[in-house]
């Protein structure tokens, strides 16, 4: 009982301290900082996060995106991978608008789609508006237990036109990897050669909503798991699109699943406007094909440029 009486006395004080630091109106933040050390603030955040989770007191959007979980649990483990392991350098972040719908189109590679995770983390941490990229994924992802639920909670949705248009028209930043499994599971000898860009569905979604297309080129992801073989029979047995063989996997077992520490560059190109083609532009297949080719060509050329600038796969 005595303990219970002590705590409420402490609480408003600490609350006020926290609030004042957030608003930065009180002119004595240094003294407050020393009053509550960093680890204690983090503990407070952690506990209030735990309380929210236990009570179910958080919001998810209609796609199942759980911002609270994504920012506090799913994103943080990517940080060391992004900063220390792959040492990702992003450029052209200013090409991503501060708000409003936009479609990021990128090359896909690396056997395991880490490139998508890194791009998403890069934008969330380095873009001034800290936007969450909503990616469009294959139905295999959503069919898989655990992975499917996690993908939805982290803001991903099925790659289909209704979902893409819905996200774009509600002003979200959407990411798409039009090469799909053809890109991510291509043999190492084909590295940095863009595969076919689907049927251009992403272009018609952008045309319908008038959202700009931002080409994104990723260099470095091709080398994380150099795929030198594909065990088709095993892939069919397990229902995977491919079963990769790398120099270390499955030879070294779980050790072989550690990605090679290549140096990454992610470049966002100039936005391509889609709102200048007028009404019903999405119904013009020739325009859709041309735009698809333009995006593909832009990404391919940027890849070549970035590759010529790169001296070493691992040192950059």
């Amino acid at each position: 009982m005595a303990g219970a009486r002590v705590i409420p006395l402490h609480d408003p004080e600490r609350d006020a301290a926290r609030r004042s630091r957030h608003v930065e109106v009180v002119p004595e933040p240094e003294q407050q900082q020393s009053a509550t050390p960093d680890w204690e603030r983090r503990l407070t955040d952690l506990l209030s996060f735990a309380r929210r989770r236990i009570a179910g007191d958080y919001q998810v959007d209609e796609f199942g995106f759980d911002r609270d979980l994504t920012e506090n649990v799913l994103m943080p483990p990517l940080k060391p991978l992004y900063e220390k392991w792959f040492r990702v350098e992003t450029s052209g972040l200013n090409n991503i608008p501060q708000a409003g719908g936009a479609l990021i189109v990128a090359n896909h590679s690396g056997t395991v789609p880490l490139d998508a995770l890194m791009t998403s983390f890069g934008i969330a941490s380095e873009h001034p508006a800290h936007r969450h990229m909503r990616m469009l994924g294959a139905d295999l992802v959503f069919r898989t237990p655990v992975l499917g639920a996690l993908a939805r909670k982290s803001g991903q949705t099925l790659a289909c036109n209704p979902d893409a248009e819905r996200l774009l028209s509600s002003g979200e930043l959407v990411g798409v990897w039009p090469e799909g499994f053809k890109g991510v599971g291509k043999p190492f000898k084909d590295r940095y050669k863009l595969q076919r860009f689907g049927r251009g569905g992403f272009v018609s979604a952008a045309l319908k909503t008038g959202a700009p297309i931002i080409p994104c080129s990723i260099v470095g992801a091709e080398e994380i798991y150099p795929m030198i073989g594909d065990i088709k029979a095993l892939a069919r047995l397990l229902g995977f699109p491919y079963f990769p063989v790398t120099p270390f996997f499955p030879l070294l077992g779980p050790l072989g699943a550690i990605p090679l520490p290549s140096k990454w560059y992610i470049e966002f190109g100039e936005p391509i406007r889609t709102d200048v083609f007028g009404e019903n532009a999405a119904d013009d297949p020739m325009l859709v094909f041309n735009l698809t080719d333009q995006v593909r060509e832009t990404i391919q050329q940027t890849l070549y440029r970035l590759l010529t600038q790169r001296r070493n796969v691992f040192l950059g």
Binding site: V6, E40, L43, L47, G56, E62, D139, P162, D163
Partner: protein, 345 residues
């Protein structure tokens, strides 16, 4: 056009009964007829006031006589249901849903006075799978047609309703595709499910659940009856809850069951008469379903008063569901840890 004589099917259940009660309280409506195979519970009957109860089976051609002799001009078909009467009631339920609708529509077609038909359908017609878009609009169809159960019934019912609309173009047909209902008073599969102390879920899946407060459902049905609003409309509350989140909000514990064991566990709950989930509803627990309600707000002119979350919270507090872990214990634990931490500073 305000209807003169309204016939409501399924009045011994929550929606039909309360709807009849609302019409009975409306002085503009001359006569309210309620049809069902069994009489409504006594408290519901009292609420229904001047509404007349007709004990009839809509599977029987007799319903035609009821409609023509009473000069019914508006039919509200609210008896299509997802909850079978018991462990063996599924065949009966299917017959009531499908054959009943066929007979009812045949009777409506025969009677020239019928001017309006309101059908309570369900968003289950969209199915539930991993290949579906995240949000369904009215013009979408299911990726794979539900092969059994309530969803299939609803798809067939809607098919017959469309056929009726073609044959009687002078009748205003409103089809309402509702999400799952929730509320302190209504009794559905879902309200029983969330009231279980330990709630079984499918391991590795977390469905997106959209709910509609039962009062909102009544208001929508009433509005469709009193105004001429033909068409197909999705009806659901704003916002989404994840299944795991809903279970936590209800203060329950969830018990993840591996997919392979789901039929066994489902069978146990069915035979224990706790919760009766049909296979298509099991799929709903995997993927969930979210519908777009723009048309409801813009064309139908109705915005639900409760969001999904508010409706669920109303259900939790209305049912007096006690959380297994007291929120105050959690608060105290949090304060205790912070206080201990402050001492280490």
């Amino acid at each position: 056009m305000t209807p003169k004589v309204v016939l409501v099917t399924g009045v011994s259940r929550f929606l039909g009964g309360h709807l009849a009660a609302r019409f009975a309280a409306n002085p503009d409506i001359e006569r309210v007829l309620g049809v069902d195979t069994e009489p409504p519970p006594r408290d519901l009957l009292r609420r229904m006031g001047r509404a007349e109860f007709v004990r009839a089976d809509i599977r029987n051609p007799l319903i035609s006589k009821v409609i023509s002799t009473a000069n019914v001009d508006t039919v509200v078909h609210a008896s299509v249901t997802a909850s079978p009467a018991g462990p063996t009631g599924r065949t009966v339920m299917k017959e009531m849903n499908v054959i009943g609708t066929m007979q009812l529509l045949a009777a409506c077609q025969k009677s020239p006075r019928v001017q309006k038909l309101v059908v309570k359908s369900t968003s289950a017609v969209y199915g539930s799978s991993s290949r579906d878009p995240a949000v369904f609009t009215e013009d979408m169809g299911p990726k794979d047609l539900p092969s059994s159960g309530y969803a299939k019934d609803a798809v067939e019912v809607e098919g017959y309703v469309r056929g009726f609309g073609r044959r009687r173009p002078d009748v205003n047909v409103t089809t309402l595709r509702f999400t799952n209902f929730i509320g302190p008073r209504i009794d559905t599969v879902l309200t029983r499910y969330f009231a279980l102390p330990v709630v079984p879920t499918v391991l590795g899946y977390d469905a997106r659940v959209q709910l509609l407060h039962s009062e909102d459902a009544l208001a929508v049905l009433e509005r469709a009856t009193l105004h001429d609003l033909p068409g197909v409309f999705n009806v659901g509350g704003d916002g989404v809850l994840l299944l795991s989140q809903a279970i936590r909000r209800a203060g329950r514990l969830n018990l993840p069951v591996p997919s392979a064991a789901v039929p066994t566990v489902g069978g146990f709950f069915r035979s224990a008469r706790l919760v009766d989930f049909s296979p298509d509803q099991m799929r709903f627990l995997n993927w969930g379903r979210v519908i777009d309600t723009t048309l409801l707000k813009k064309e139908f002119g109705f915005t639900p008063r409760w969001t999904t979350q508010q409706a669920f919270d109303d259900y939790v507090s209305g049912r007096g569901l006690k959380p297994l872990i007291d929120p105050e214990t959690i608060d105290a634990a949090e304060r205790g840890i912070l206080d201990a931490a402050a001492r280490f500073r």
